[in-house]
Subunit: 287 residues, 4 copies
């Protein structure tokens, strides 16, 4: 039962490394999550427990993949999560299938295994929640930012719609079909008006978690400066190799920040220039 | 916060549909499973509970993806599992990333959520088990069979090595390094001889589960014939549309068989010609 | 001016090798050939000189790429030519861009440089004729044959249309627009009838060159048997290495046949089983 | 002979559009050009006629593909030519095979058909010169510039080597093998020294054509400003549609400049900021 005569089959695997120097977004989407929402009777339009679970899962994924610089999770029930890998990453030799499956399975495991903490009274049963994933390359910082702006604008649009829809259904006594029909052709200001005049809801006072989604990022600021100088000292003194390694690890452990914050305007990025810096964790000006 | 100015970013997603008419293998491998083996103190060279868990997870994956005609799981701790999708599948428009991530996350969820049944005394803790996955296309039945033969020959080679190695360590009192050194350059017959003369182990009497790995396939045989004629009857009588649908579903629910059996010789395939038939669940001769 | 700091740019080239074991078709199409037809006042519906030039160019391309087993050229003015590379070819490591550009530029050079032989009175002037090209993989003989059948059926459909159209214009006194309008919605039998009743043309008597297009293939039959046994003799006698090489070359020089013949029915392929044989130039039964 | 049953074969063609917003380089290399050099007895180390022919061919290619902003041709006998398409190009929907084959066949046709002008006494005979081609994407201006720097540094290194090698052979009386051996392990300064001390050649006085290769680019400067304002006027006045079209064409016809000039330092790019401008033919500052 020698193996050699079959080994030619290895050649059928296509090499799928993503091009260098591009920012890689691994986007992960819930599969069939509208069914899941019904099955576990999630609160409308946003279930706090479900969002917390998603964000905790994303947090853990970032913790285990040190080349992820930022993740953005929309507040949809469909819960798309975008993980941004630094453009210089060589993780899995940048192979698309390895990246997408490793991140998507990690996210799935976190989501399933942490479920019971967030829903102690709703045991998770088969069929389990699963996620699909894909890699997309963005050649420049500007286009990557446009991608994230697109996602956050989408989150806003969906959340405004959902908030209005569910107010019409839950408080306004409409059926789902009636509410859908009623909202056809309305623009953002119409929905704001409906919310305010009918239900006394000022959309701008809705939780930012729902309106803006959740941004998670490695906060390299303070930690980083200390680590950087320690690394420099360690490099200067070749005897302190273990020290160098220790500092590197500290750097990797840069705390992860979670915020419900605007990603579209410049402010977020200006104040945290290290997130999209040329080198991981540096500030842009240093380059 | 209009979305339109950002929508151009959608165009960066590359279309990754696999070519038609090829058999698609989605291979799923455990990530860092040698650590996992140590952490949960798996029995050497094969842990029955761990193999049962893998096979149960694979079984459930087949159940949820009706276009999978066969899966083969090696008995390695690394537990590579190959899921074969029928060449005619149009699942997810044959998009590689969708296929790989959906199957890999389903496998991960099954593995994590069914863990406690197989290891009631070893609670699963973070970091959770995860899997990577990839799609490979095989243009013909013959090459697909060579792929599966390659995997099964590999399973045999690894298992013979592991069985000998662990006998040397556990019963022979060698250290891991010593056993490794001792086995360097040995061929199959040498290992058989070592097992027999030193430890009284006849390798051919080792469990087939370990030596052959596990084959899971949709058994279309009997069920199929009945379903086929029912479908034909239903088609002839257009009033019985719901009947047609019912039969179709029955067909999809063809029972799943699990066997530890030789895939390299022709016999398996001749007796179950429907597995690689031109049309899902038909016999080759009908085509 | 050291080069090393820039060498990283090499990594941006994506590896584009086509999957093994697939038949590779390189299809080459004339760019903007309707303009060319007008510029050089080609005869309608088929210009014999133009077709001869195309076929001569294809012939020469086959001669220089020994892994091409067959080529099929349609009689359109657009002159698509399909070059079939044996599924086992390792030419240019099967890289798609190398294959497509090498064959397309060879075809272009032959077409331009042989022009004056076929059109001594119409000197070729800038802009020169050029061609685009692409590679397509076909996983099995059957699908490859379906591809060629598709092309030949297409050739027939276009030629019947063009023959009718130009008879209506040149002999029937219609304008182009009138003829187009007149033929809208007609099927094959209508066109046959128009040709016969109006112009006394029996389409089946039209030249096969126009109706069937042109097949070029390496004829391995007789030459091959002789070469094969010579190679076997040479292999048995290791001293005759140069003899072996000589025979191999003779085999490569298998004469090229050109025929206007049906590719859709089985006969062509049964009588020349060596064309799509498992090994280049063998007969199928030997495999 | 209906076509419909075969049309499924169209689906085997893979979609190969290059990702948006990347600069596309189509690189074209001579196939087997060392043989060609011998056959036509090109002058060593650089044949002026051969270089002129290449540059004329490149010029004509730029003229016909308006989205090419710059081309760079090395002075090697192998004559690699890099054509840079603006990152915003939608030519052929950015399909890699269409781009590579269309440009490579155009280059081949120009090279073959213009041969006799440059070599009136050396008629071109079969096998004709041909070229292969490939597309490479560069995500940013900076990396594209590094690519071009790499090519120009390579040109310099090769030309210095060739100049020294051929002086040793032609004037120094060495055989090719002797010269090769002699130069093994030498660095740039060694070669400069050999050239100067042995043959009185100051490498820096060698023609820039040989040392720097040839840059061709669309010169949008002056023409552009005039055209821009004319286009603005035309847009403001909707009645002057034909005027608008005329100006657009004038813009497209921006004259093509040919220079043997340094591409590695910033100066070239600063003085011609429009070449890599965000919008074709604009200046960077306008964006």
């Amino acid at each position: 039962m020698a193996n050699s005569e079959y080994e030619y089959v290895k050649k059928f695997e296509q090499w799928d490394a993503l091009p260098p120097a591009n920012w890689i977004v691994v986007r992960v989407d819930g599969r069939g999550f509208s069914k899941l929402c019904k099955k576990y009777d999630f609160e409308k339009p946003n279930d706090r427990g479900a969002l917390d679970l998603l964000n905790e899962a994303a947090w853990e994924v970032i913790k285990s993949f040190v080349d992820i610089v930022l993740a953005y999770g929309q507040s949809d029930f469909n819960c798309p999560n975008s993980f941004v890998l630094h453009k210089s990453t060589t993780l899995f030799e940048r192979r698309a299938s390895k990246l997408a499956t490793s991140i998507a399975t990690a996210f799935t495991a976190e989501y399933c295994m942490r479920w019971s903490t967030h829903f102690p009274d709703k045991p998770l049963t088969s069929p389990w929640p699963t996620f699909d994933g894909r890699c997309v390359c963005y050649p420049t910082r500007e286009i990557l930012r446009d991608y994230l702006s697109w996602r956050q604008a989408d989150c806003h649009i969906n959340n405004l719609y959902n908030t209005t829809f569910w107010n019409l259904v839950l408080k306004g006594g409409m059926s789902g079909t009636e509410a859908e029909e009623f909202l056809k052709g309305t623009v953002a200001s119409d929905k704001n008006e409906i919310l305010f005049s009918r239900f006394g809801v000022n959309y701008n006072n809705e939780p930012e978690l729902n309106r803006k989604g959740t941004v998670l990022y490695r906060a390299y600021d303070v930690v980083n400066d200390a680590a950087e100088s320690a690394i420099k000292r360690a490099k200067a003194d070749p005897s302190s190799k273990s020290q160098l390694e220790k500092e590197r690890k500290r750097k990797q452990k840069a705390r992860i920040e979670m915020q419900n914050i605007d990603l579209i305007r410049d402010r977020f990025w200006q104040e945290r220039a290290y997130i999209l810096a040329e080198k991981v964790g540096h500030v842009l000006s240093e380059e």
